[in-house]
Symmetry: C2
Subunit: 235 residues, 2 copies
């Protein structure tokens, strides 16, 4: 690392928060009282499986950019049909969709970020929209310096614009910024834009034993969790 | 206030930070060692007096939007000439311009924001750019939930787009947002967009006795400082 890193950019879904357990819990809390008994983890997985295809329509230019909240809602309606859930009221649908604003952080996320903030500017560079990021930060105590990511870039990762818009917003060269994620494809795209890379292992993101234990590419730092990353970056 | 306020938007220059004393100090710290002895407060006032005319070129559509850092730099070069300061190196000019990233908060700003954050989402809605807001927040301990304002809106206050883009980013109705400022014209423009308004007295912003002691329009809350505002808003 010739140039010193000044800012750390964080992927959020999976890297900082456990979307799978949280969405299963949130969905159950709303639908079980209405008499539905689904495989809640399967529901969470199905909803998440629509995530990349929906963003791909935007990334490819077939759809104009819109916030992730809007894509989540469209995906929700598809998944409900598949699980034979119908006739929900608008307020229930809205409440289900806001489940993505109530995800819980991994236990090391908030203390790790607090430690990293002492040495680095820290910001999410997520595909989530600003209001979603604000709600997750307030719920989990993520002490962001700014909310960057898809909404200020007008596109979704791994498109280069998202990483470069974040560097630009902080007036920093890409080489002074590090992307931190539990997903090698995110880090690979960031590296192509000239950013440094930090991998965090989340081996259970998609369920027990279903997550990246280690990076699939060469990275500037590889850590077992955010506190470990702080130690490795001298924060 | 029929609809409950969920978010507070803050003006920054003058409302949260004492730009005049800070710029006089920062400019002196850089130029005095080079042998210049200016009226440092007059220099700060002159630099600030170019602020509205520069933004007006953008607001009127004569110039495309650019970050405040860029306008500050152009204004700096004009003012230096007026004060007969010439031949400064690029690194000195850049350092002078970064003086705006090193402004000190009024004593009540950080504790008042910490208190208000417990009840409300808080964000700057300033004409300053994101990196400037981040630097001021890290220097002064302003615990923002997000950095909103001119850079995400692509225009400068008091243009309606800046207030409305902030509401939009948080997915809130304007009536669920309150603009907080020490300047009645800022509050008047926000009210026109449907936001609620909070005035903070900063009677010495432009020098002893030269600042707004009270609002020049009807507001939803008028406070002597940010701690007083927190008390008045029940935070």
């Amino acid at each position: 690392m010739a140039q010193a890193v000044r800012a750390l950019f964080f992927d959020v879904f999976g890297t900082l928060v456990d979307w799978r357990t949280s969405i299963a819990r949130e969905t159950r809390a709303i639908l079980a009282p209405l008499g539905y008994f689904l495989d809640w983890f399967a529901f969470a997985d199905a909803w998440r499986s629509e995530y990349q295809p929906a963003m791909e329509e935007v990334r490819s230019g077939r759809f104009p950019f819109c916030r992730l909240d809007v894509l989540h809602r469209r995906n929700l309606e598809r998944i409900l049909e598949r699980f034979n859930v119908g006739g929900l009221s608008e307020s229930i649908l809205a409440e289900l969709n806001l489940g993505w604003h109530r995800l819980d952080g991994w236990p090391d996320s908030a203390p790790g970020l607090a430690r990293l903030k002492r040495k680095f500017i820290i910001a999410p560079v997520s595909n989530g929209n600003i209001s979603l990021m604000v709600d997750l930060a307030r719920r989990n105590g993520f002490p962001w310096d700014a909310i960057l990511g898809s909404e200020i870039a007008g596109d979704f990762k791994p498109k280069p614009r998202v990483y470069l818009a974040a560097c630009e917003a902080l007036d920093l060269a890409p080489s002074a910024c590090m992307m931190v994620a539990a997903h090698s494809n995110d880090l690979s795209a960031a590296a192509t834009c000239g950013l440094k890379t930090g991998h965090v292992a989340r081996p259970h993101e998609y369920g027990p034993g279903r997550g990246e234990k280690s990076p699939k590419l060469e990275v500037n730092a590889a850590a077992g969790n955010l506190e470990d990353l702080a130690a490795k970056l001298g924060a």
